[in-house]
Symmetry: C2
Subunit: 215 residues, 2 copies
Amino acid sequence: MTRLLLDISMSLDGFVAGPRPTLEDPLGEGGERLHEWVVKLAAWRERHGLDGGETGPVADLVAESVRRTGAVIMGRRMFSGGEGPWEDDPNADGWWGDDPPFGVPVFVLTHHARETVHKQGGTSFTFVTDGIDSALEQARAAADGRDVAIGGGASVAQQYLAAGLVDDIQIHVAPVLLGAGTRLFAEFHADSVSLELVETLGSEDATHLTYRVAR
Amino acid sequence: MTRLLLDISMSLDGFVAGPRPTLEDPLGEGGERLHEWVVKLAAWRERHGLDGGETGPVADLVAESVRRTGAVIMGRRMFSGGEGPWEDDPNADGWWGDDPPFGVPVFVLTHHARETVHKQGGTSFTFVTDGIDSALEQARAAADGRDVAIGGGASVAQQYLAAGLVDDIQIHVAPVLLGAGTRLFAEFHADSVSLELVETLGSEDATHLTYRVAR
């Protein structure tokens, strides 16, 4: 059964992006620090056409995430480059370049219908205008037995969490307090949600928490 | 040098108490689940006059926290029993009973001056009306070379964090999403704060993160 995975980096105070994002700095002030742990990894560098990098248990965790992911769902803002005034430009071609680091079909939740874009390396961007259930259904079909990953941003993650559709949560907690920005978890009015803590992996650069959502 | 330690349990979505606290349930709805990991421990049970309980690395971590703590600072609400309409009753004698589980001097930040209360087992409650710096100074003196721990609640922790006075942060992340309640970290307007991740300890019940605040 294809599972839905939320895999995202977060500050200790719960932000996935810092305040005041710009087109040049779509992660907001301090937001890049959330991802310092991953850009050091050989697995990440290889996917971005770079040599070298770290190997070890954290690299293995990321490699396993990549291996199991057959399709990705992301929000419009994540496609076009973080939050900001450009995010509603229906003609924006994203900020992922010709060879995006996904290598699988990506489904972009948007209000603007457009044709699927095929990039190099197996990445395609399909634009879904009829909601999160439809995006998940299409992503599951495209994943071909592998899992579906939520690529962000926070609002997409929150919608899938609120709908009770997320099966697994992998959070990379960066050792930083951003103080402001975009929170991963919205407040919700419901009984608390139980998680099973499946794995904890610590390094100097981040703590990697893997949970299964208890039903 | 006496260090200031913030040691607190938090949900994965950043809450230290659930919504709608009452006098009977001062941790709010779901809030008790944040502390399930600790009440299982032999070290906790012993301090509360109970037998049995778990030993091991997590118990050792808590024992080390207890050993290094020579004084505690807490907020008025933490003294009188969580948040709620009773919290401003200047005559409330707290909810900690005759033999509170601290065993060291406790300094309660409040607007209501009153005499120091001495309890059994080495716990005393001193009421500080002239602010966080004064409370810290008094606690440092009382700690007699050991460290000072912030016992909560969130607003006290936030005040010390904002003032740049916290040296060490130990957060116990419970595998639960509360959805609402009292957040540990307030939004603040400052450059991001760097933390050094000193130790990560995982169990089924919680993830224990120890940070040093980088200066």
